[in-house]
């Protein structure tokens, strides 16, 4: 066992961090800076990171779950407002069916975000949501008979998460089959594990970014003639936030590794445990960060709620605490009471 990052993985982490530092939204107002967003998106496209799960010559992904989790964590740490998880998950689905890669594509999920949207034949029966959909022109969905279909998307709007846009899909929307083949059950399981690992990594980055924001505030904000970070009550809040972040990091690391290294059911169990842990932690951490900011933390212009909103969406995507505790129990052959 040696779970240190390789030198290539460390280099990847550092180059993502550099891009994030250069182009991240440093304030809520900066979210509306179209020029910055365009530069950020162009830089991300140029990096090729969204294609890390497309197929190499042998049909395997170019990179493992670990590399894409590294990118997801670093992007979230800067609350980066350019798509990543959606395109990566779409590319991974296409690869599993041997379908050619497509640009500007994301995935569609149920309205509560907990599961991939399923089309019935050539149309949607229920409303759905394309996530992480800025610049996306199409979304992938699963079909009830286990196939893969694509649907064109209209313009994206801002949803709960101010950093990642969505497209609402109305009932009856038409889809076109991407492949005649059905996706094997093991592939759906592994893909779900990847979704859980990536959303866990995203929440981990979100926690790191949020704690950094609150720490800086605690050092700069003075009351009673002292920085509030010198008060033990504030220190203990932030210490708990840091500890929850580190626990999430350890669980998320194994989840990311497990995606490609373990049998599908074991990968899913590792990812579910990480997701449950990180989802609980992320809400606590982001709430703490708002609390440490005091009144300002409850205003729109403080970045704290940007992190909280992002965490809420990543938590719900592929299921948050409840569905993943159920997955953990099922892995231990304990059923949910009927």
């Amino acid at each position: 066992m040696d779970v240190r990052f390789s030198s290539e993985q460390r280099a990847l982490r550092d180059s993502v961090a550099q891009l994030v530092e250069r182009l991240r939204p440093e304030s809520v107002r900066a979210l509306d800076d179209g020029e910055r967003v365009a530069k950020l998106d162009a830089a991300l496209t140029a990096s090729g990171w969204r294609e890390l799960r497309t197929a190499d010559d042998a049909g395997a992904p170019w990179a493992t779950g670990v590399e894409v989790a590294i990118v997801a964590e670093q992007l979230a740490q800067g609350a980066v407002d350019a798509p990543f998880i959606g395109p990566v998950l779409a590319a991974d689905l296409r690869r599993r069916l041997g379908a050619a890669p497509a640009a500007a594509e994301t995935i569609a999920v149920t309205l509560d975000l907990s599961a991939p949207a399923r089309a019935d034949g050539d149309a949607f029966e229920h409303a759905a949501l394309a996530v992480d959909a800025a610049q996306a022109t199409a979304a992938l969905v699963l079909t009830r008979d286990g196939g893969l279909a694509q649907m064109p998307l209209g313009a994206a709007t801002t949803g709960v998460d101010l950093t990642r846009r969505v497209v609402e899909i109305t009932p009856g929307a038409a889809v076109a089959a991407v492949s005649d083949r059905a996706l094997p059950a093991d592939d759906v399981t592994q893909w779900t594990a990847l979704g859980l690992a990536l959303t866990s990594a995203d929440m981990l980055g979100t926690m790191r970014g949020a704690v950094r924001l609150a720490r800086d505030h605690a050092l700069n904000r003075h009351q009673y003639g002292e920085a509030i970070g010198s008060f033990q009550a504030v220190q203990h809040l932030l210490a708990d936030a840091h500890v929850a972040t580190e626990g999430s990091a350890s669980a998320a690391l194994r989840a990311a590794w497990a995606v490609d290294a373990l049998a599908p059911q074991d990968a899913l169990a590792a990812a579910a445990a990480a997701k449950a842990y990180a989802a609980r932690a992320a809400r606590m951490v982001c709430e703490t960060v708002i609390q440490v900011h005091g009144g300002i933390g409850n205003t729109w212009e403080c970045m704290a709620h940007v992190f909280l909103r992002r965490a809420l969406v990543s938590s719900d995507l592929f299921g948050g605490v409840g569905p993943n505790l159920t997955r953990v129990l099922e892995h231990h052959r304990i059923g949910v009471a009927s």
């Binding site: 040696d2 720490r215 220190q235 500890v243 350890s250």
Partner: protein
């Protein structure tokens, strides 16, 4: 980047598994009974003699000079086999390796590692808990001996110990952190009395209090230089704060596995709350296993553990207490019955946020030494 065993690690794991198949003693599931404490020395020696203890320590003291990852393999396999946990002596060994002179290391460490010499740790005092440096036990030189007088408490295994690592004040005229020195003191002498402390779960053999009334120890048994006691104590407690060092993951895993069996056997007997508590315990233990893997891997770079030990200790505490809650929730308190196993596991878990430095102190350290907030 691989959570799997290397070929060497896999071979070691197999060898250990085969040994455990015939050598697992019939001892309680965890350290929640006096039977466990009574048999711990025999278990330690059996592990050592078979080559499964002290794996990461120098060969000169009986170790094997393997990466600390091997200790984690031992912990996992012990838990899987339902065997008792690995005795936690790393704190003593690291303290002496880092601060003892060559004579101390050569003379004292082999007996600690092979389990023939039983030690206890005399740090805390009734008036010096979190503020350890305020301790009052005095050591006064008398010829080529030191004379020790004072009162120690929370002394683990004091009833079975042959020797005590005593932290005492040797210079009352310097600031409190600078006047402390460490000694080895024999527990078998007239000036030493020990009394067991009964804990809230009823066990009496884990902790004790010890009074030293003119106890004597030779000057050659001072560990580290005069005045080096505080630094030695910090080395010791930082090792006490690491879940990997203590092998606690194994202990938690074993309890949780028992709870899983219990619920699986009769799912309909449990409503949602205990099952959810159990799910959280599973998640927490899994997290800690990953965390230990991460920390042990960092050590391959030779990273020494500073304030990160406080993070580890707080995580470990949360896990132990989640397991304790699940035990109580699934097993019940035992009202009207005679099975209080779950209650004991739960009650024992409350000490984790106190021993080895309270959670409040750990949070202070995380805030000031990791997050860089004003001390």
């Amino acid at each position: 980047m691989n959570f799997r065993d290397s070929p060497d690690e896999a071979e070691f794991r197999l060898r250990l598994r085969e040994w455990l198949a015939t050598n697992t003693p019939d001892l309680p599931a965890s350290s929640t009974s006096d039977d466990y404490w009574a048999a711990q020395a025999g278990w330690h020696q059996a592990l050592y003699d078979a080559g499964f203890f002290g794996l990461s320590w120098p060969k000169s003291i009986g170790g094997h000079e393997l990466p600390t990852v091997y200790d984690a393999i031992v912990d996992e396999e012990l838990a899987a086999a339902g065997a008792p946990p690995r005795p936690s002596l790393g704190y003593l060994v690291q303290g002496m390796l880092e601060h003892g002179n060559d004579d101390i290391k050569a003379r004292l460490l082999p007996g600690i590692v092979n389990g023939r010499d039983r030690w206890c740790q005399g740090f805390s005092e009734p008036e010096a808990g979190s503020d350890l440096a305020a301790l009052r036990t005095r050591a006064v030189p008398d010829g080529d001996e030191w004379v020790i007088t004072g009162h120690k408490i929370w002394t683990s295994y004091s009833d079975a110990a042959d020797w005590c690592l005593v932290l005492a004040r040797t210079d009352p005229d310097v600031p409190k952190h600078k006047g402390l020195s460490a000694f080895r003191v024999s527990m078998h002498q007239p000036g030493v009395q020990q009394r067991p402390l009964q804990m809230i779960n009823g066990i009496t053999r884990e902790f004790g209090e010890v009074t030293f009334d003119g106890a004597r120890t030779p000057a050659t048994d001072m560990i580290g230089a005069p005045g080096e006691g505080w630094r030695l104590a910090m080395t010791v407690v930082s090792h006490e704060r690491e879940p990997g060092e203590l092998g606690y993951v194994a202990r938690y895993k074993k309890v949780v596995n028992e709870l899983v069996k219990q619920v699986r056997a009769d799912r309909s007997a449990f409503d949602e709350e205990p099952v959810r508590d159990l799910a959280w315990a599973l998640v927490e233990v899994e997290m800690l296993r990953c965390h230990v893997a991460r920390r042990l891997s960092e050590r391959l770079d030779g990273i020494s553990h500073g304030p990160e030990g406080s993070v580890d200790k707080l995580l470990m505490t949360a896990v132990e207490q989640a397991v304790g809650h699940a035990a109580l929730s699934v097993g019940g308190a035992g009202h009207g019955g005679w099975d209080d196993t779950a209650l004991k596991v739960y009650l024992y878990s409350r000490a984790q946020s106190v021993m080895g430095g309270t959670s409040q102190i750990q949070r202070n350290l995380v805030a000031t030494r990791i997050l860089g907030l004003p001390a």
